[in-house]
């Protein structure tokens, strides 16, 4: 079993991204005004762009690892 610290390191970012995604989707569904809808879309886009941007910038020459 992974330690609490390890679990936190693995799951914090994905959990935040998932929460923000769900919040944006439901927020856009519940709102009438087009500008709020656009804000939800922008948040969704920024979240995805942040993750991909990290992938593009975070390079690693990782050592071999085993399960």
């Amino acid at each position: 079993m992974p330690s609490t610290g390890q679990a936190r390191r693995i799951w914090t970012a994905p959990a935040i991204i998932a929460a923000v995604t769900l919040g944006s989707l439901i927020g856009a569904l519940l709102t009438e005004e087009a500008d709020r809808d656009a804000i939800a879309a922008l948040i969704l886009f920024l979240t995805f762009a942040y993750a991909i941007g990290l992938g593009l910038s975070r390079r690693k020459d990782s050592p071999r690892r085993s399960l």
């Binding site: 709102t31 993750a51 690693k60 085993s66």
Partner: protein, 389 residues
């Protein structure tokens, strides 16, 4: 860690689940992603291609004509057919769509006639599924196979959901020694794509789960409506069982006015004529919708006696139909403005990348395993997903 320990066994089970649920549904998911992409913009594309009514500019507040004059205008356009329903779009309050068919009970209708409610001018005439978007929608929803096609795609949707859940489990195992969003660029192409597969997959996981699950629910739409017809609708019309069809019937305007009086804070969204699949021989069914963004998507049928114009019953639809109504916008992503649609398209494209990289990883792993057959047989590597880096 020795092969065969519970941890490794569990990893291999999840890996096999992820591999096979993905592979079995892959071709269909790719088709759904590719056909779904233009469908996100179906309003814009239909509008550009002339498959959506274009309302002429008129002074604000121009009154609407009685609905019976719209019905008469639609009937005149298609003699020999019957009117099944009149529907209204909450985003185009000056337009109405009339559905006509050769028989009242026929589903779907043969023709749609779009009319301007202010002038009863016919704006558009079309067959259901007309135009490129109609073709893509049919391909996307049932592959031109009707209910079996829908249910099959529903199974593919369930496999997709299982593939996502198993992918999340595997993600945790893979990321034990890596920081979030690490892409090991100096390693082999397979490792690089594995990292991208994991990163894009986990970044889109919530969206993909929502779209996959709501898409699966949508494939059950026909079954849910049949269940509603045989359940709640049959219950609501039970007192009229055996009663002959009315010789004369009140106008559609009277039926709508009665429903409106019964639910003044709601607006009519669809009126099914007596004798159609969504009413009874003796009733108009006026489907009312609320006025908030959420309740506007939930319909409440009001049954109006076609002979007397009296309200006989009005109930909220069952929970499963409400769930269906709420799942539709969340699947198609067309409930927001253009920015949301663009993001939806972007995430759809990201899902194509995840699917494509998944196929690549499977093929690349199979290639890399072939020369090491002895090691694979010995149980060291039985899955293409097993991390070897």
């Amino acid at each position: 860690m020795a092969a065969g320990t519970p941890r490794v066994r569990s990893f291999r089970i999840w890996s096999a689940v992820h591999t096979w649920t993905s592979l079995l549904s892959m071709a269909f998911l790719l088709m759904l992603c590719l056909t779904g992409l233009p469908l996100i913009f179906h309003h814009e594309i239909d509008h550009a291609l002339g498959y959506e009514p274009v309302l002429p500019e008129m002074p604000a507040g121009t009154p609407h004509l009685p609905l019976c004059s719209l019905v008469a205008a639609a009937e005149a356009k298609r003699p020999g057919v019957v009117v099944q329903f009149v529907s209204f779009d909450k985003d185009e309050p000056d337009a109405a769509l009339v559905g006509l068919a050769r028989a009242l009970q026929q589903v779907p209708s043969d023709y749609f006639v779009g009319l301007d409610r202010r002038t009863a001018t016919v704006l558009i005439e079309a067959h259901p599924g007309a135009g490129p978007m109609g073709f893509l929608l049919k391909l996307h929803t049932d592959m031109f196979l009707g209910l079996p096609g829908k249910l099959f795609l529903g199974v593919m949707g369930l496999l997709f959901v299982v593939a996502i859940v198993s992918g999340v489990v595997l993600y945790g195992r893979f990321m034990r020694k890596l920081n979030f969003a690490t892409v090991r660029r100096t390693r082999s192409a397979r490792i690089r794509w594995l990292d991208w597969h994991n990163l894009i997959g986990v970044a889109t996981v919530a969206w993909a789960l929502v779209v996959g699950a709501t898409g699966t629910i949508n494939t059950w739409a026909d079954l849910m409506l049949t269940l509603w017809q045989r359940g709640q609708l049959a219950e609501m019309t039970a007192p009229y069982r055996g009663v002959p069809r009315p010789r004369t019937r009140v106008s559609i305007d009277t039926a709508v006015a009665t429903a409106q009086a019964a639910a003044p804070d709601m607006t009519p969204r669809l009126v099914a004529f007596p004798g159609t699949a969504f009413s009874s021989d003796n009733h108009y069914a006026v489907f009312m919708a609320g006025n908030t963004p959420l309740t506007a998507r939930l319909l409440k049928p009001a049954l109006i006696d076609a002979e007397t114009g009296r309200l006989t019953d009005m109930r909220a639809m069952p929970w499963y139909v409400q769930a269906l109504f709420l799942s539709q916008p969340l699947h198609f992503g067309d409930y927001g403005g253009l920015p949301l649609k663009v993001v939806w398209a972007l995430l759809d494209g990201a899902t194509v990348v995840v699917l494509g990289s998944g196929i690549y990883l499977w093929i690349a792993r199979k290639r890399s395993v072939v020369p090491c057959a002895a090691s694979a047989v010995s149980g060291n590597r039985s899955s293409f997903l097993e991390p070897d880096a």
